[in-house]
Structure formats: C-alpha cells, structure tokens
Symmetry: C2
Subunit: 358 residues, 2 copies
C-alpha cells in the first residue's frame, strides 16, 4: 500500500510489471477493445496501484491529432466591444498552440441574422472539434445547437446564455444582477428624496436586445424593493443607428419637468450620452454605463461618467477556449455556468483595468 512513488511511472513500468508490451498497456489506457479481459484487468490493477498519470508532453508530441476550435463572434468593426473577447481568445490560442490546437475565427453582422446563420453553417460543415459562439439570435441559435448535438460537437456559449442546452460551458455575465448592482451604485450616488432616473437602452432596430432588458429588469427591481431613495424610473428605448435620435430624446427629458438626477445606460454606448452631457455642459447628473471602451474610459476620467460596470470580456474569451482545451485534451470536467465578476470601475481604479493580461 505505498502511496505515490507516483509522478514518474510510465507505461514502460506498467508493461514490465504486467508482463505485457507497452502496446497493450496503451490499449487498455485508451479503452480500445482489442484486449482480453484478463490482461485488461491485470493491467488496470497495476495502473491503479502505481498511480500512473500520463505524461501530457509525450502524449502530445507523439500524437498526430490536431484539434480545431471554431469561434463565431459579432464583427468587431461595427462595435469595438467585441475586440475584447477576441483578444482573450487569441491569447488562449497562442498558449495552446503547442498542444496542436488551432483556432479558427469567423465573424457575423450583429444586425443581420442571416449572416449568423450562414457563418454558423459554414463552420459546422468544416467539422471542428469544438465550437465557441455568442448565441445572440435565439431562434437561429437553437437550430445551430440542434446540429451540434447531432454531430456530438462540444459547444460553448459566451456573452449570451441559452438555457436547457447541452452546451459544455457558458462564460458571461449575470445581466440581471449587473443591473441590480448599477442601481445600488445609483442609490449611493443620489441624495435622498424624490428623484427621476432614466434607463437608456440604445440599440439598432434589427439587432437583438435581450441583454438590455435583463439589465433593465435588474435595475428596476432594486428600486422597487423599497430602498431609502424615492426614485421614479423611466425607460427609454433609443435607436442609435442615427445619432440625432438620441440627442432629441435627451433634449426632451432635459427640457421636461422630470429632469434626470441619474441616467443608467444599459450597454457600452454610454459614451454617446456622455458626449451629450459634455456638449451641453450638464453636470450633477449621475451617469452609469457598461464596458471599458476607450471612449467610455475617456469620459470616466473626465468625471462625466461616474461608474462603468465591466464583465472582463477578454477573460470570457480566454476561458471559453480553455474550457474546450480542458475537455478535449486534458479530459477534465469543466463547470457549465461561469459568471464573470461584475467589476465596478471608477475614475480611481480604472488604471488597473486598462490592460488585459493573463
């Protein structure tokens, strides 16, 4: 009953003890069936006794297996936010290249469901070993998912979560909770007494808005559960495909008798509102939004935006890739639901979040 002389036992040692060749050891190690039951059991016993653990380097070096991971992500040229998960994905790719992993990245147009479908189909036809995507279009995603299940292709969601799927993992934010947190920050920032607070949901007409609503819900639920602040919450859906629409909407509320004390912008477009504030010299309105785009950082540092909620998108991308590496190569179990931390960024701590590093 020795415990671990382990760590340096190889298939050769096992073969010797079991009086078989290393080929046979390999066969039982990989559950290939061309082994008689007696020898299989004998070998298995010795493997356990000796606490064998495979040398991954040798394994990878000897094996000619290549792993291809396909990634489908919204085109970052239309919204720079998507550069961030991509950055993490590429960083992970560099790290696991040595284990014969190759990452193939495809993009789609966030406001064009067909482009999503087409790209997804191309990917499935290419028969990758793993698939990472942002399932932003619900119905189309369901179809993709179905095909993945049929093909037994492991798939990972990031950014958006679809329930009741056999996805290997999900990496993203708890959107409702992030809205709830934003509301708490808002509550700290405004004085007691009656306040008007606006939720702005900026989006293109044809793009999905599911996220935005979840964040909105979280925000509203905070105030509806009786905090010390008496606040009236207003919601504004704004088409930001043309800039003038947002300006008009803001003009309207600022000239009304329900002037905002705070504005919560439910995505990374908060810089558009900040820009409006700057132009019109609006101070003393608390402004909270999402994500560390450089435009947002600028306004945060200027003091026009008070808080940015951030979800470490680079890390989401990075970890998505690694979940597949763990599954395919290390055969390690991976957690299915992985919420990113909901980071609170202010002028005083932005410095330490600017650069993504693993």
């Amino acid at each position: 009953m020795k415990k671990e002389a382990a760590a340096k036992i190889g298939i050769k040692d096992i073969a010797k003890q079991a009086n078989v060749s290393i080929g046979t050891v390999d066969r039982v190690l990989h559950n290939r069936s061309e082994v008689s039951n007696t020898t299989r059991e004998q070998v298995l016993k010795i493997i356990n006794e000796l606490g064998y653990t495979p040398n991954l380097l040798a394994k990878s070096l000897a094996s000619k297996i290549k792993y291809t991971i396909a990634v489908l992500i919204p085109d970052p040229t239309n919204n720079t936010y998507w550069e961030k998960p991509l950055e993490g994905i590429k960083a992970a790719a560099r790290e696991i290249k040595k284990f014969n992993f190759e990452i193939q990245i495809a993009t789609f147009d966030y406001s064009n469901e067909n482009s999503f479908i087409e790209k997804a189909n191309e990917i499935l036809e290419s028969n990758p070993n793993g698939f990472i995507f942002a399932p932003v279009f619900f119905e189309s995603s369901l179809k993709v998912i179905e095909k993945c299940d049929q093909m037994e292709l492991p798939y990972v969601f990031f950014d958006v979560f679809i329930e009741n799927c056999k996805n290997l993992a999900y990496f993203g934010q708890n959107s409702v909770q992030s809205g709830y947190l934003a509301a708490s920050l808002m509550s700290y920032s405004i004085d007691k007494g009656t306040n008007h607070i606006y939720i702005v949901k900026p989006h293109n007409p044809s793009a999905p808005v599911y996220h935005l609503s979840l964040r909105e819900n979280g925000f509203i639920s905070y105030f509806s559960q009786g905090t010390t602040n008496q606040a009236t919450i207003h919601t504004m859906d704004v088409d930001v495909s043309s800039p003038s629409i947002l300006v008009e909407s803001l003009d309207a509320i600022f000239s009304s008798d329900q002037k905002p004390r705070g504005i919560f912008v439910a995505n990374s477009r908060v810089h558009l509102v900040a820009q409006y504030f700057e132009k019109n010299k609006i101070g003393n309105v608390v402004l909270i939004g999402y994500d560390l785009l450089h435009e947002n950082i600028e306004y945060l540092e200027k003091g026009i935006i008070q808080f940015l909620i951030c979800q470490k998108p680079e890390e989401q991308g990075y970890k998505s890739v690694f979940s597949l590496y763990n599954h395919l190569f290390l055969k390690k179990p991976v957690d299915k639901v992985n919420y990113s931390p909901i980071d609170i960024i202010m002028k005083e701590n932005i410095e330490y979040y600017k650069n993504f590093k693993i």
Copy 2:
C-alpha cells in the same frame, strides 16, 4: 522571401539545409561556443530564413533539467489572508509541473523577523532556480536581496514592493491608490456637511505596518484635496493582539462628541469592527475595509460592511509563479511592476468574487 511556411520547421530541416548535423544546429541554438564562426553564421542565417521556433514539448521532454521555485510567505495559520496567494501559487504549480517545475513553499511568522531571516537563508542554501517572497521586513529583505543578486538568483516580490532592486517582477496592489479609492467610496456614501471619519489601523505590535500607512495616506489625500464633503479625518492605531483594546478604542469614539459617520479599516481585520457594530447595534455608519476573508464576506452580506477593497491575492500568487516560468523556461521578458486591479466589492457583486478560478 517566403513568409512563414513556419511553425513546423524543426532542427532537422535546418540541419539538412545547412549541411550540418542536428547536433551542430543545437549548439548554435544554445550559444554553446564549440562551433566555428562560419558554420554558426550559416546556420543562424537559415534559422532566420526558415523562421524556426522550437517545439517546447519536445524540448521539455528531452531535457532532464528540473526547475525549483522557492516561495516564502507569511504563515496562513495566523492570518488566513495568506491562504489566498498560496492558493494561486499552488494552482500555478499544478499547471507547470508538466514542464519539470517544482514549487517549494516555506512560511514565516509575520510578527517575528527572525523567522523570516532563517527561512530565507535556508532557501538560499537550497539553491533554487527562482525565489518568490513577500519582503515585509525591509532591512532583512535587503540582505536577502543582496544575496540573491550575488547568486544571480531571479527573485519576485509579491504583496510588498521594495524599490530600486533587480527583482524580476512585482505583483501586488498600489496601496496608496487603494486608500484613495476607499475615500472616494466613502465620499459617495456619506452626506454632505460636516462628518467625522475614522481610519483604523489594526496590527500586532511587532509586525510591519508599512502597507497600512500607505493606505492611510491615500485615504487622507483624497479628502485633503477639497471634495464636496467636509470631513474631519481621525486616525487610530490599534493593537489587535488582544481584542479588548479595539473594543475600548471604539467605545471611546462612539461615546465622544465626534461620533463617526464612517470608518475605514486599512486591512482585512475590518470584521473585528463589524463585529463590534453588530454587537452594539450600530447602523448608519459606513464601514469600508479590505479583502475577502469569509468573516468579512459575512458582514458584507449582512449589510454591516458596505465596501470591501480587494486585490486578487490568488492571482498575485499565480502570476508570480508564471513570471518565473516565463523567464526560466520560455525565456520571455516579463513586466517588472504588475499592479493588481483594485476591486470594489459590495453585497451586490460579492457572489462573483467568492471563488478563485483561473
């Protein structure tokens, strides 16, 4: 002028093209000097043309070199905070074990400078390939550093930074800035008008307090630069080796006519103050402290602590190890100063910071 047919060129290919043996290629690759200049240059030229990059798996597999990394960290049994960097260190150890890295961990007593010195000397005698430590005792650390320099042993600081050293890297927090941030949060949380705010610096008599003072300075500097809040800042140095001293100190200020509107505890002992609040049913005093000890989390969730400032200690440990891996094994340059993000944790986002995962 082909660009990269790269990625799969090995020393064999180079040897063939250069009309030499792989042994010779290996010699120029490792700058061993037993090669004539002509062949060296010839081989070098081909290496560049072909864009050779070594296969790290094969390298590690063939090489019998072992790397030992020594770690010296305060004993976690006296202060559970230190479990956290340790966790990260161990996680990193598991990952790079396959590349022949072994991590040796030693601990010292935070309130006993001699134990630090002794352990450090033991480590230096064991002749590791890299050394990670928290240089909490300034003078003693300088001596250790000097020896490292002599031995040409690469060393990494974590938690505490000592300037003007040849340390390979540092991982820790910008303490001044974290105090500054805490002050900003305090400022958001208290109402305008005259307020009394207390800084509590809890420590054992014989332990170092450098950190605490930096955090204090940051906190004070925020308020001294004319914010909208008129606040009077008081500082309390408290010996927490016996619990009663803290209680007495708090009793004193709460029965004075300068009752606190907010308390900033400059380290992880904030739960001691929270405990006092709970016992004495003190509400409406803003309490801000440091670090995600489970005691602190408990009081945060109860709403007794409003904000915890956190510095990702697990990540600091993890990255310290990896900096040495990058340096020793990958021969990659590493950044010298690496500040952790200064995370703001509230009741609303604590959930996503509880578990350390890489």
